[in-house]
Symmetry: C2
Subunit: 234 residues, 2 copies
DNA sequence: GTTAACAAAATTGTCAACAATAAATTCATC
DNA sequence: GATGAATTTATTGTTGACAATTTTGTTAAC
């Protein structure tokens, strides 16, 4: 009984659609849900133990964030981003995240710094232990945490969406073992935070994002045969 | 029979939730819907001629963008942004829109420039004619069009959301007559576009956003007494 | 053996009735 | 006459059944 208050006597404490969305976000980030995966309503109902309506609302929210694609009368599928969309996502990240860095450096207290330090330690540990899922999730969370420190909920939501979509992009175009982030660059960022160097932090972030994008630019198409039509029709 | 294809023979061509969302966005931007306004489901059903389910989905999408606030068992209300949220919105705009400017300048064709020129002419005309709604809508659309020229759908969505929320912020904290934008600054921007000066365009945008924010910072609380509880409860 | 039409199954989309919660009105009491 | 409790009304939240569409599987014809 660590995670959720399961059905252990009293009410199962039905998950809200926001929580379901969050859970699917996580699954996508950890690449347990890959591009093209079908999300059937009944399966999700069983998985989360909620009614169909709740699921449909969650899927609508995910679709409005381009994490899920809703095909009329055919169901919901995890999005399969195109190269064009990948470009757009990285452009957006380069526009937003350096600025988040600047704000975060301004507003980071000693407590925040210590928190980031712990986070990085966990990241390294997961990496060393070969716990790929945990490593991926933590490296994604790092970017979101910067937005938290910047105290900007709008941007936090945006980063969450962009980080999740990046995971899909890597799933589509990255080599199978590709990590989402180089954790040493996160370490560099933390150093800039400690010294309160706004511009340096922003610059490191740009480089960091460039590296992630380069990783997927070079290696071509590693996606599985999900969209057979698109693959064989040209 | 100017506005909607009313039930005049064949199918009324039921609006999708995306279209309903768009219509409410527009109404908010034009300040026909003001902060705190109640959006009752039955009223919306009548207004758009669709079933309750469609409306509920549209409201959920609007709530996920912080345009609407869903109070449990009490209904949907147009959001009443706080000063804190206003700060976050402007921070986000300053982070994103200058970068959109840079990309848009890079990618603007002669056609795009001509299109912006026409748009600005319409803006000025609406201003001169005293057509406030049209003026507000067009000045908001201008910012979205830059994202269109930059060819980035993610950022376009973000700007659309942020522009709409800005209208709410002005409705809350701006003096009654306050315009959303100084259209002369839009003109300045267009000049930078013509000369393909990326950095200058970006800089003008920053100044432009600063001006809009300054307008709401100085003038304090002009909001109507919608949330009586909040006003008298402390 | 292959293709086309047809039938069956499964899944999604929609609607309408019902339950639950909050607001408004009425009534009784102080 | 004013305050507080109880009832009524209205609005939202949820569930279930039904309709529409797509997909799968089968059969028949070429």
């Amino acid at each position: 009984m660590s995670n959720v208050a399961e059905n252990s006597g009293t009410h199962p404490a039905a998950l809200s659609e926001a929580e379901i969305v969050e859970r699917i976000y996580d699954a996508v980030i950890e690449q347990r849900l890959r591009p093209g995966a079908k999300l059937s309503e009944s399966a999700l109902c069983d998985a989360f133990g909620v009614g169909r309506m709740r699921i449909r609302r969650a899927l609508l929210l995910l679709a409005s964030r381009d994490i899920v694609e809703l095909r009329s009368n055919r169901g919901a599928y995890i999005s399969t981003p195109s190269r064009e969309q990948a470009r757009e996502v990285f452009e957006a990240r380069r526009a937003i995240e350096p600025n988040i860095c600047r704000l975060a450096v301004q507003r980071a207290t000693a407590k925040h710094i210590a928190h980031l330090e712990t986070h990085l330690k966990d990241e390294r540990q997961a990496q060393d232990l070969g716990d790929r899922r945990q490593a991926i999730r933590l490296s994604g969370r790092f970017h979101v945490k910067l937005a938290e420190i910047a105290v900007n909920h709008v941007m936090e939501r945006m980063v969450k969406e962009l980080v999740t979509r990046t995971s899909l992009i890597i799933g589509m175009f990255g080599a199978p073992g590709t990590a989402n982030c180089h954790e040493d660059e996160h370490t560099l960022l933390l150093q800039a935070f400690k010294q309160k160097h706004e511009e340096e932090a922003a610059q490191i972030m740009v480089t960091h994002l460039d590296h992630i994008e380069a990783q997927i630019d070079l290696t071509s198409d590693y996606r599985e045969s999900v969209d057979l039509v698109e693959i064989f029709n040209n």
